[in-house]
C-alpha cells in the first residue's frame, strides 16, 4: 500500500464516490417518486425510457441541459446565478459526513466508508442544511417577480421555524449518545443494543415531521405550491439552473433520510443488533442495511406526498410553534430526567 495510493488515490476515489452517491440516489429518487405516486393513483407512470422508465430522470436531465437558460432582464444577475449553486453545494457537502457503513479492513489499511469523521459531524450537517435557505431566498428575491418573492418569503419562515424542533430532537439523541459524532452515535446504539428510534419515539416523530417541512415536501410544500404560486421560488429558472434546484431538493431529502436512519435507526446495524438469535443478520454488509432503511424513508416521503393535501401557511406555522416545539422541549426534558436518574 504505497503512500501514493493511500494518500491520493483512495481519498480521490472516495470524493468521487461521495459526489456520485447523492447523484445516483437523486436519479433513483426521481424515478421512485414518479413511479410510486403513479402506482398509487392507479396508473403506471414512466415505463418507456429504459427498463421500466429507469432512464427517465436521465432523459429529463439531458432535456433540461439543452433547454434555453433565460434570465429576467431586471433580475439581479449575481444572486440569480449563485443561488442554485448555494443550494446544491450545501446538500452535496453534507454527504461527506454521512457514514455509510463499518470501516472495511483491506490488509493493513482500513477503508473508512465516509470522508470526514468529526466530533461535531451532526452540527455541521445541520449548519449546511440551513445554508440552502440562503440559496432559496436569493433565488426568490433575485428573480424580481412577485410569485418567486412570495415563495421565498414563505420558505424562509418555514425552514427557520422548523429548524428549532429539528435541533431539539437531534440534541436529545446527542444527549443520550453523549457525542455529536455520527459514527459514535451508531456505535453507541450498537453497544446499547436498542435503536434510539424505539428508545425515544417522540423525538423520532417530531424530527421526521420537521424534516419533511424543512425539505419543503408533501403537506408542507407551500413555497412551491403549484396551484397557488405557480412554481414558487424557482418559477423564473429554466434549463440547468432549474435542474440544480430540482436535484438539490431531492439530495436534501436523501440527506435528511440518511440522518434519520443514522440517528434513530442505527445507521448500518442489522435490525436487532443485541438479539443473539438474529446474529446471522450480521452477514449482510452494513451498507445494504443502510440503503434498505433509506429506501423505506424515501418511500414514506412519496407516500405522504401522494396522500395528504397541502397545509395553509398560517396553520403550518401554528403547528410548529404551538405543537412541535413544546413537544420537543417536553421530550428533551423527559430524556434529560431519565438520563439523570439512571
Amino acid at each position: 500500500m504505497t503512500p501514493f495510493v493511500a494518500d491520493v488515490l483512495i481519498p480521490v476515489g472516495k470524493i468521487v464516490a461521495v459526489i456520485l452517491y447523492p447523484m445516483i440516489m437523486v436519479v433513483v429518487m426521481i424515478w421512485l417518486e414518479r413511479r410510486v405516486v403513479a402506482l398509487m393513483q392507479g396508473r403506471l407512470g414512466p415505463n418507456r425510457v429504459g427498463f421500466q422508465g429507469v432512464l427517465q430522470p436521465v432523459a429529463d436531465a439531458v432535456k433540461l441541459f439543452f433547454k434555453e437558460d433565460i434570465m429576467q432582464r431586471q433580475a439581479d444577475a449575481f444572486l440569480f446565478n449563485i443561488s442554485p449553486v448555494l443550494v446544491m453545494f450545501s446538500s452535496l457537502l453534507a454527504f461527506c459526513f454521512v457514514p455509510l457503513g463499518e470501516p472495511i479492513r483491506i490488509g493493513t489499511y482500513t477503508l473508512t466508508l465516509w470522508i470526514a469523521e468529526s466530533p461535531v459531524g451532526l452540527l455541521i450537517i445541520l449548519g449546511l442544511s440551513s445554508i440552502s435557505v440562503f440559496g432559496v431566498i436569493f433565488g426568490g428575491w433575485a428573480s424580481n417577480s412577485k410569485y418567486p418573492l412570495m415563495g421565498a418569503l414563505r420558505s424562509v419562515v418555514q425552514v427557520l421555524s422548523y429548524e428549532i424542533p429539528t435541533g431539539l430532537t437531534v440534541l436529545t439523541v446527542a444527549f443520550v449518545a453523549r457525542s455529536m459524532d455520527l459514527v459514535e452515535i451508531v456505535r453507541r446504539q450498537e453497544a446499547s443494543g436498542t435503536w434510539y428510534g424505539f428508545l425515544m419515539p417522540v423525538s423520532f416523530i417530531v424530527f421526521w415531521i420537521s424534516a419533511i417541512a424543512e425539505t419543503n415536501r408533501a403537506p408542507f410544500d407551500l413555497p412551491e405550491a403549484e396551484s397557488e404560486l405557480v412554481a414558487g421560488y424557482h418559477t423564473e429558472y429554466s434549463g440547468m439552473k432549474f435542474a440544480f434546484f430540482y436535484m438539490a431538493e431531492y439530495a436534501h431529502m436523501v440527506l435528511v433520510s440518511s440522518l434519520v436512519v443514522i440517528l434513530f435507526f442505527g445507521g448500518w446495524l442489522p435490525p436487532f443488533p443485541s438479539v443473539k438469535a438474529l446474529a446471522f443478520l450480521h452477514a449482510v454488509p452494513g451498507f445494504v442495511w443502510y440503503l434498505v432503511k433509506i429506501m423505506f424513508f424515501l418511500y414514506l416521503y412519496v407516500w405522504i406526498r401522494a396522500t395528504l393535501p397541502r397545509y395553509r401557511f398560517d396553520s403550518l406555522i401554528r403547528l410548529v410553534w404551538k405543537w412541535l416545539i413544546p413537544l420537543a422541549l417536553a421530550n428533551f426534558l423527559v430524556v434529560a430526567l431519565v438520563r439523570f436518574l439512571r
Binding site: 402506482l39 398509487m40 392507479g42 396508473r43 403506471l44 407516500w303 396522500t307
Partner: protein, 160 residues
C-alpha cells in the same frame, strides 16, 4: 368520552393514517393505463369519428350530390357541385370539398343523407401536419383506415 376520543384520535393522526391506508391499498390495485400506440382501445360501435363517403356493392359511389348535407351542416364544411351525365339515372358529384377543421362531429349530415352515402367511421386519430391537408376532395373522401393516416400526416407516422 367523545372529547377524549377525539383528542386521542387527532393526537395519533388517525385521520391521516386512514388516508395513507387508502393510498397503500390502491398502490397494489389494478392499473387503468392503456399503452396507447401499441394497444388502441376500440371505440364503441356508435362512435362518431371522421365522416367517410361509401360505395355500394357494385363499387359505384352512393352520393347523388343532392347537397342535403351541405344545407344541414351548421359550420359550412361542405362545398359540393354535381352534374347529371347523359343517360345516367342519377346525378353524381363532380366536386366534393369537405373541411375537417370546421367539422364539429354533430352528425346532421349523416342523418339527413337520403342514400346514407356519408357515414361516421370510427377513426379518431385525426392529427395532420398542415392546414390544407385537412381539406378533403372527392377522391380523398373514400380513404379510410391506415392510408387515411398517411394522407393526413405522412411525416411522423412511424410504421407500426
Amino acid at each position: 368520552m367523545s372529547r377524549i376520543g377525539r383528542f386521542l384520535k387527532s393526537f395519533f393522526l388517525v385521520d391521516m393514517l386512514r388516508g395513507l391506508a387508502v393510498t397503500l391499498r390502491l398502490y397494489f390495485s389494478r392499473k387503468v393505463t392503456v399503452q396507447y400506440p401499441e394497444r388502441v382501445q376500440e371505440p364503441s360501435p356508435r362512435f362518431r369519428g371522421i365522416v367517410r363517403l361509401h360505395r355500394n356493392e357494385q363499387g359505384e359511389p352512393l352520393c347523388i350530390a343532392c347537397k342535403a348535407c351541405q344545407r344541414a351542416c351548421g359550420t359550412g364544411c361542405f362545398d359540393i357541385e354535381g352534374k347529371k351525365e347523359e343517360g345516367a339515372k342519377v346525378m353524381r358529384p363532380t366536386r366534393f370539398d369537405w373541411k375537417l377543421d370546421r367539422c364539429t362531429f354533430c352528425g346532421f349530415c349523416v342523418e339527413v343523407c337520403p342514400t346514407s352515402a356519408i357515414r361516421f367511421s370510427r377513426e379518431f386519430r385525426l392529427t395532420g401536419t398542415d392546414k390544407d391537408g385537412l381539406l378533403f376532395h372527392l377522391p380523398d373522401m373514400y380513404i379510410a383506415g391506415e392510408d387515411l393516416q398517411s394522407y393526413l400526416c405522412a411525416g411522423c407516422r412511424r410504421p407500426r
